[in-house]
Amino acid sequence: MGGDHRAFLDATLPHVDVVYQVARHAAGTGQDPEDLVQETYLRAFAAFGSYRGENTRAWLAAICLNTARSEARRRRRRPWEVPAQALLDALPVARADEARDVADVVIAGLDARAAARCLAQLPEPQRLCIVLMDVAGYTAREAAEALGCPRGTVLARVHRGRRKLAQLLAEAGVSHGRS
C-alpha cells in the first residue's frame, strides 16, 4: 500500500496546479477549491489501482468535475449561480463615446473579477471547455477526454464560449456606463 500511494503521488502530484485551476471554477457555492482538490486526489487514489489511462491530468480533471457535481447535488444548489446584480456591480465602466467594437472594449477593460463573473454566466458546457483550455491550459484533446465528448465538440464549445464571454464583458460594461 505504501508503494501504491508513492506511485500515485509521483504520477499525480505534478498536476496539482492545473487541478486547482479546474477546482477554482468547478467548486460550487460554499465549497472550498482546496477541499475539492483534496477530495479529487482521494477519489483518484481510491481508483488508481484500476486506472489504465494514458493522460493522468485529463483523468484528474474528470474526477474533479464529477466530484464538484456530486457535491453540488448533495447541497441541492446550482454550483455556478451568480446574481445578475452582482455581475453588473462588478463590471468595469466604459464610456458611451468609446469604440463599440466588442473585442476593443473587452481588451481595453480586462478585469479578472469581471471576467470571472461573466464566465459564470456561460452555459456549463462552454464554461467547462474554457476553464479546461484557457484557464488550466489543457489541450482540446485532453479537455475532450476529461469531458467525455469529441474534440470537435470541445473546439466548437470553446469558440462559442469565448465569443459569448467577450460579448458579455463588452455589453455589460457599456450598459453600465450608460446608466
Partner: protein, 240 residues
C-alpha cells in the same frame, strides 16, 4: 453552430492544413462577420487567461498528507478557516506543569512502537515525523530563547471519528507539533501516566517524544527531541 463556424473554430485552433488555413486568412480580410468572430474569440481567450492563479503554497503537501492518511484509514476533511485559532498559552501554568513533568519524563519514558498505537495518536505522530530533525542541539531547552514561530497553516483532520487540529511551531532549530481535540487522546501501549487519574501520559514513537494532557480540551505535543527535552520544549509552546 453551422459548418462555417465549425471551420472557423478549427482554423483558430490551428487544425486546418496549410492550404485551407491560407484560404481562411484571405476570407477574414473580406468577411466582416468572421473577422469580428475571430476577434471576439481572441478577446474571450485573453479574458479567461486572466483567471489563472497559482495553487496556494502547501496545497501539494496537504494533498500528499491526505493520501498518506487515507492509506491508514483516516481523513482530513478540510482546511480550518483562518479565524479558527487555538487558545493562546497560559505559559506560566504550562511551564510549571511541564517542569514538574521533567523528572517524571526521564524516569517513565519507555521506548514504544506504533504498531498498536491508537489511530489518532498515530496520525499525529505520522504528521510530526515529516518535520526536520533539530538543526543543532543546544542541550535541554532546545531552541534556547529563540522566538516561537508558527510554521504553515493549521491542519484539521478526523481520525477514527476524533476531530483534531494540528499546528506546528518552530523554536530555534526545533519544530514541534501541538494537536488539540475536544476528545481525549487514547493512551498508547507502553505509555506512562504522569499524573493522578490518567489524565496525562508520555510515550515514545520512533524518534519522537509524545506528551499528552487530556482534559476538557486535550492536547498532544510531539517533537523529535529526547524525552528529557520535551518538558522544557512544552513549556514554551502555547498550551491551554
Amino acid at each position: 453552430m453551422d459548418g462555417h463556424d465549425r471551420l472557423l473554430a478549427a482554423f483558430l485552433a490551428g487544425d486546418l492544413d496549410q492550404t485551407a488555413a491560407r484560404e481562411w486568412d484571405e476570407h477574414l480580410l473580406e468577411c466582416e462577420a468572421c473577422w469580428q468572430a475571430a476577434r471576439e474569440d481572441r478577446a474571450g481567450r485573453q479574458a479567461a487567461g486572466l483567471l489563472r492563479q497559482p495553487a496556494p503554497d502547501g496545497l501539494a503537501d496537504r494533498v500528499a498528507f491526505a493520501v498518506e492518511l487515507a492509506t491508514a484509514g483516516a481523513t482530513i476533511p478540510r482546511q480550518p478557516r483562518r479565524g479558527v485559532r487555538l487558545r493562546r498559552s497560559r505559559l506560566a501554568a504550562a511551564g510549571t506543569l511541564a517542569l514538574g513533568l521533567a523528572v517524571t519524563l526521564v524516569v517513565l519514558l519507555v521506548p514504544g512502537g506504533r504498531a498498536s498505537m491508537p489511530a489518532p495518536v498515530a496520525a499525529v505522530a505520522r504528521y510530526a515525523e515529516t518535520m526536520p530533525l533539530p538543526a543543532h542541539r543546544a542541550g535541554p531547552g532546545t531552541g534556547g530563547q529563540a522566538p516561537r514561530v508558527e510554521v504553515g497553516n493549521p491542519v484539521m483532520m478526523t481520525v477514527g471519528g476524533q476531530h483534531i487540529v494540528v499546528r506546528t511551531w518552530r523554536l530555534g532549530g526545533t519544530e514541534a507539533v501541538v494537536a488539540t481535540s475536544r476528545q481525549p487522546f487514547p493512551m498508547p501501549p507502553g505509555a506512562q501516566g504522569t499524573s493522578g487519574g490518567g489524565m496525562a501520559w508520555v510515550a515514545r514513537a520512533g524518534k519522537l517524544s509524545l506528551y499528552c494532557i487530556n482534559g476538557r480540551t486535550s492536547e498532544l505535543v510531539a517533537a523529535p527531541v529526547p524525552a528529557a527535552e520535551l518538558a522544557v520544549l512544552a513549556a514554551r509552546l502555547p498550551l491551554a
